[in-house]
Symmetry: C2
């Protein structure tokens, strides 16, 4: 009775496998529990991520679709679908960029801002408290550090995500 170590032939691979499987499970649960937490408002985790990004000071005055996709690390076509649904619900709007008529700047509507501030923020704060039960501030910082490190490696693995030059979107 071997442990999973044997199935992979080495301790190192076994550890990595365990880590990635946990990440996979956490990703599944993030979407499952996150969407359920915001179920009363009909918001999914992806919509949550979009709305949350749009509340960032850097995106306060609108962000280009491509930049937002790069920031969220999703494809442009996928983001377009999410944005369309949020637009129908009048939570976000697209305005033509005065500086570049090709570009449409996505931003929160008043209704979207209200949804975030009045309805979502407290729910999200409670969700964070529950999902991070037992995490000290140091734990969180360490976890963020590891996720950052992994993210950096992922980006190196991704041919699309290469231009990490100083654009506001790629910065963080």
């Amino acid at each position: 009775m071997t442990k999973d170590v044997d199935a992979f032939g080495g301790l190192s691979v076994g550890l990595s496998n365990r880590l990635f499987f946990r990440l996979y499970q956490c990703a599944n649960m993030l979407h499952k529990t996150g969407t359920r937490a915001l179920d009363e408002h009909g918001i999914t985790t992806q919509q949550w991520a979009v709305l949350g990004a749009l509340t960032r000071p850097a995106f306060e005055n609108g962000v280009a679709v491509g930049d937002l996709a790069a920031f969220l690390l999703v494809s442009r076509q996928n983001l377009a679908g999410v944005l369309s649904r949020l637009e129908v619900l009048d939570y976000v709007e697209r305005a033509v960029d005065a500086n570049d008529n090709r570009s449409r700047l996505v931003r929160l509507t008043a209704k979207g801002r209200s949804l975030w501030d009045k309805d979502m923020r407290s729910v999200i704060a409670d969700y964070y408290d529950e999902a991070l039960t037992g995490f000290s501030t140091e734990d969180k910082i360490h976890m963020i550090h590891y996720l950052d490190k992994m993210l950096h490696n992922f980006k190196a693995l991704d041919p699309e995500a290469q231009p990490v030059s100083g654009t506001a979107a790629a910065a963080e």
Copy 2:
């Protein structure tokens, strides 16, 4: 007592928000880069997770669909779709449980085992090496610990995943 008076300006909520956004980004990149790494074999990260689970010693002789869904933390209906595609490709098969004719035991076929051993394992090992560049053994252990902790909280949040009693599937 931390000061989360101003919701997202607060240090505590800000940290949690940052952590979850990183997790969200990592989840996106895991599926994007993972599927791309196995692209030559036409395997997605979900199929990877299923095949990987079936190579576990505990599942060597087959596992019930419901148990596998609980193990992977996905819905039964979702898993059914993934299994159907893998079945068409002759990587997995379903056999009636001798002990319970209702239950079908999912297991790897010889072709599936060969795919895993001859084609996928080395690719996955390389992928792990790249995605975990700069991670020491201690780093991995710490990361796993944090993911485990978060997973535990997620399960507490999930009404379906409550029966954490001694079933083999829920055990790990």
